[in-house]
């Protein structure tokens, strides 16, 4: 399946954008480590926790997507629509990161009553706690994640949705681990530049997803065979039916 390497790349590019939110967590995880090696180990365990959550969410969303498709048997475009939704989410996320769209300022302190406990887990000594910290990090609201989840939903298959999210999660590991290992290695200016590049990469990923989804929008009763991302793997759907690329 050719889309999984693409997902890994999306994760890599996207995670540079995510460092703003999740980078401090990675740093906190690393702060309790006595050595460089121990820190690396903790970062890997932490990322494993995150990927685990992504995988479960991917499986659940894929199941829901399949149910949705089954509930709307006459409506053949569910995967394509989900791909478009995912693409739009990614584009919006990218534009937000690039500063093109302004985020409404969040007012008031964090309302989450579990925040204190989460902080305790991040700094905990035991690896089990670090894993759990990663697990809960995966549940934090994140636009990029939602975009990827929409992609997972469009796979319509529990196992495939799961693998989609694992691939995405793996892509986020290098940046997160790097952030946890030496957050101060890169200067502020360098980080800003990286951030900007990542933001536009995200927009690009979103556009690809939208284009693929649009390419598979079908207005006949004939069901499209397979998900938009599998098109390259030999989908019988001919692009000539698409209203976008006639």
């Amino acid at each position: 399946m050719t889309e999984w390497p693409l997902l890994v790349v999306s994760g890599m590019l996207g995670s540079a954008h995510c460092l703003g939110m999740c980078g401090p967590f990675a740093l906190a995880v690393g702060s309790a480590a006595p050595s460089w090696r121990a820190n690396l180990q903790r970062q890997m365990v932490y990322s494993a926790g995150r990927i685990f959550t992504y995988a479960v969410l991917g499986a659940v969303l894929a199941f829901c997507g399949a149910r949705l498709a089954a509930a709307l048997p006459g409506w053949t475009n569910v995967p394509a629509v989900l791909a478009i939704v995912a693409g739009v989410l990614l584009v919006v996320q990218g534009l937000l990161a690039a500063g093109v769209i302004r985020k409404p300022a969040v007012t008031g302190a964090s309302a989450c009553p579990g925040a204190g406990a989460f902080k305790a887990l991040l700094g905990a000594r035991s690896l089990v706690d670090v894993f759990l910290a990663g697990l809960f990090t995966g549940l934090l609201p994140c636009g990029l994640l939602y975009g990827m989840l929409a992609l997972a939903a469009s796979t319509h298959d529990v196992a495939r949705g799961l693998v989609t999210m694992v691939a995405f999660g793996l892509g986020t590991v290098p940046a997160m681990a790097a952030a946890g290992l030496g957050g101060s290695l890169l200067g502020l200016a360098a980080r800003r530049r990286l951030h900007a590049i990542a933001a536009w990469c995200l927009v690009l990923t979103g556009c690809i997803s939208i284009a693929r989804g649009a390419g598979h929008l079908s207005f006949t009763s004939e069901p499209p065979a397979g998900c938009p991302f599998c098109a390259e793997a030999g989908s019988p759907v001919t692009p000539s039916r698409s209203p976008v690329t006639p």
Binding site: F52, T53, A55, V56, A59, V60, A62, F63, A66, G108, A111, P113, G114, G116, A117, A120, L121, A124, S126, V128, D129, F131, L132, L135, F136, D157, V158, A159, L162
Partner: protein
């Protein structure tokens, strides 16, 4: 009108045992072991190590996290099982699905142990206290679902419901824990106050040696040493040293008070600049700040709506129990054991007694906490919510609309030095609580005049004070001019001082209208309420204060007349707010639907009002009324939601169409809705209206001359 009498201290003290975690009333009797109001608080306390064991706390957190981890695994395998196509699977697929079931079993068992344990402990604790709990039913349902599924896995046929057991346990634990955290936040303001008290103090022994001891072990009579910057740990009297004390926390007064040997200090106040030796007069827990916190703590527990919610909850639990059992029996009969157990479990899980129980107290607590932050102390939850629907506001004049009486002019006759006049008058005035006597004393203190020595001062009611001057034994009199002079002269100052028969001089008084009074009264009137000023003063002077403010007024009222006026409004079916001086207007404050007092001072036991504006700032009144309106809306909304939710969801669950896992999510969502709705009240809202009252208050400070 309130049935309660003037002195609320006389009524038997109702001491609702507070929850050891969130501080909300837990109900039940006082026992030595820790008391929690709900499972959530019990669980949250074990997570935050409220009982002091840090390792145990981390283990509880890890436990919850692991349970979530296992549940997520179960969910994935369940999704796989649910995706099973209809019809007979191939041998390979059959083996795969069998594997998935076993995996579910493997991952569910630890969840039962991890989260079932604490729930089980709570159910047993509740049973011991003689209370039935839904947790017991929940445990039975979960255990049944698990046993049934394990049996099906063993025989490799039939449905499995492992995800139900996991989801219910995780959702219930997580939901109740989040509720408890929410409740904790509402009582934050009071905890902040309590944190003003230090944990350890320095005790000075009889031979001058010093020892650091825990505050709890301090006894009355101990001498403590206080350094600059430290808070006074408990009430006491200064034995040696001088210092300025910041008493904002207990009196709202922002100007530090200078104190020296013999002066009383209150717990929670801050020693700003001097070293003090303080003899303890009240043991820890009985100090000013603690009594103040206790008074506020009791406010929500005694609310009428809270009692109503408790009564409803009392029959709500058995009702849900019966519905659950009946549902289980009916579905069991109709579609087998699995359907029966699932439907019964769904009923128990979806019912949200917490939303019912939390609807009122959480909103009230959040609002009261918010008020406490603004130095407004609420002692009665009902009175506070009544503030929102009151339609008549009565104000006292002196000390409420005006800043109180001050000496405007000291007139001396026959060349007597004004300071001598003040020295003698202040000595006589010292024993009196009369407002003009207080003003004379204040003027003497301002001028740095030491009071003369007076023997056997005596108050003649309605006239003045007389006594004997010690240095030149002579009778002295201070009082209303007709009484001192023996005849009325229109050009006399209202208060005269005489030694023997010789009139030495007199005092003229004035009072300033509070700068914020006009905006505060205006803001209230915009709410459509009637505003009155009830004054004991002469008609012309009452009019001079009231009319510029557009207040309707009545003058020449004795305390009994004010009481009658308030009762008159009440008899006409109006809801009355009396705003007055905490001590002199006590009967009227107690008789009104809501008594709001300024000038409460530090002594909480003397307060007769429902609400005290510690800062003596009338501008906080419209803000408070606004908060009360929002609180009332929130309570009504919460109750409506809690009732509506339960009324809609329980029957739905009883029909068997709601999956217990969905029910669990619905229950958590309902609780969180109520909690977050209440917590919004605790958030500081920089309302434009209130800010304007502070900033743009026009100065309405024309001095109005007053007389006895």
């Amino acid at each position: 009108m309130k049935a309660r009498g003037v002195s609320r201290e006389e009524s038997a003290p109702v001491e609702p045992r507070a929850c050891d975690y969130c501080g909300l009333p837990a109900g039940g009797v006082a026992v030595d072991e820790p008391v929690f109001c709900c499972f959530g608080c019990r669980f949250a306390a074990s997570i935050t190590a409220a009982q002091g064991d840090d390792g145990q706390a981390r283990w509880m957190m890890t436990r919850l996290g692991l349970a979530v981890f296992f549940t997520m695994n179960v969910m994935v395998f369940t999704m796989l099982l649910w995706s099973q196509p209809d019809g007979e699977p191939s041998a390979q697929a059959g083996a795969l699905y069998g594997l998935a079931r076993h995996a579910c079993l493997l991952f569910t068992a630890p969840v039962l142990v991890l989260l079932g344990g604490p729930l089980c402990d709570d159910a047993i604790a509740e049973l011991r206290r003689g209370r039935a709990s839904l947790n017991l039913l929940l445990l039975i349902g979960v255990a049944a679902a698990f046993a049934m599924s394990a049996w099906a896995t063993w025989r490799n046929e039939g449905h499995v419901y492992f995800e139900v057991a996991c989801m219910v346990l995780v959702a219930v634990t997580l939901g109740r824990w989040l509720e408890a955290s929410g409740k904790l936040r509402t009582t934050e303001a009071l905890r902040e106050l309590r944190q003003l008290l230090p944990d350890r103090v320095r005790r000075r022994g009889a031979d001058g040696d010093e020892q650091e001891i825990a505050l709890a072990t301090v006894q009355a009579g101990d001498v403590l040493r206080l350094l600059p910057g430290e808070h006074v740990p408990t009430d006491g009297r200064i034995v040696a040293g001088r210092a300025s004390l910041d008493e904002r926390s207990v009196t709202g007064e922002s100007v530090p008070a200078a104190k020296g040997p013999g002066d009383a200090v209150h717990s929670g106040t801050c020693n700003l600049d001097g070293e003090l030796l303080v003899e303890v007069t009240a043991p820890p827990g009985a100090g000013t700040l603690e009594r103040l916190i206790d008074a506020v703590s009791a406010a929500a527990a005694t609310s009428r709506q809270q009692r109503l919610a408790e009564r409803i909850a009392a029959w709500f639990l058995p009702l849900v129990l019966v519905i659950a059992v009946v549902t289980c029996a009916v579905h069991w009969q109709a579609s087998g054991a699995a359907a029966g157990i699932l439907a019964g479990l769904a009923v128990v899980v979806v019912s949200c007694p917490c939303a019912l129980g939390l609807a009122t107290p959480m909103a009230l607590w959040a609002a009261i906490g918010q008020a406490t932050r603004r130095h407004v102390l609420v002692r009665d939850g009902d009175a506070f919510t009544n503030l929102a629907i009151a339609n008549v506001y009565c104000f006292d004049k002196t000390g409420t609309i005006t800043t109180g009486c001050r000496v405007n002019d000291v007139e001396s006759f026959g060349g007597v030095e004004p300071n001598r006049l003040l020295a003698v008058a202040a000595a006589l005035a010292r024993g009196s609580t009369h407002i003009q006597a207080r003003a004379i004393e204040a003027r003497a203190a301002e001028a740095g005049v030491t009071a003369a020595d007076i023997d056997s001062p005596r108050t003649i009611p309605g006239c003045g004070i007389e006594g004997t001057l010690r240095d030149t034994p002579a009778a002295v009199r201070l009082g209303s001019s007709p009484w001192v002079r023996g005849e009325f002269r229109p050009d006399d100052p209202p208060t005269l001082l005489a030694i023997g028969t010789e009139i030495l001089g007199g005092f003229r008084f004035a009072e300033d209208v509070r700068p914020e009074a006009a905006t505060a009264v205006g803001a209230l009137r915009r709410r459509g309420v009637e505003t009155w000023m009830l004054s004991g003063d002469r008609a012309d002077r009452a009019a001079a204060v009231a009319e510029p403010l557009d207040l309707r007024w009545r003058a020449l009222l004795l305390p009994a007349d004010k009481l009658a006026a308030i009762e008159g409004f009440g008899a006409a079916g109006r809801r009355v707010v009396m705003v007055g001086d905490g001590i002199n207007d006590a009967p009227a404050l107690a008789a009104a639907d809501v008594g709001v007092a300024l000038g409460c001072g530090a002594d909480v036991s003397r307060w007769s009002a429902d609400i005290c504006l510690l800062r003596d700032d009338l501008a906080s009144l419209p803000w408070l009324v606004d908060l009360a309106s929002r609180t009332r809306r929130t309570i009504r909304w919460n109750l409506l939601w809690a009732f509506g939710y339960n009324a809609a969801c329980i029957p739905l669950a009883a029909t068997g169409i709601v999956h217990p896992a969905v029910a669990a999510v619905a229950m958590v969502a309902s609780s969180l809705l109520v909690v977050s709705n209440s917590l919004r009240l605790g958030r500081e809202e920089p309302s434009a209206g209130t800010a304007a009252v502070h900033d743009a208050a026009p100065r309405v400070a024309d001095p109005v001359e007053v007389a006895a």
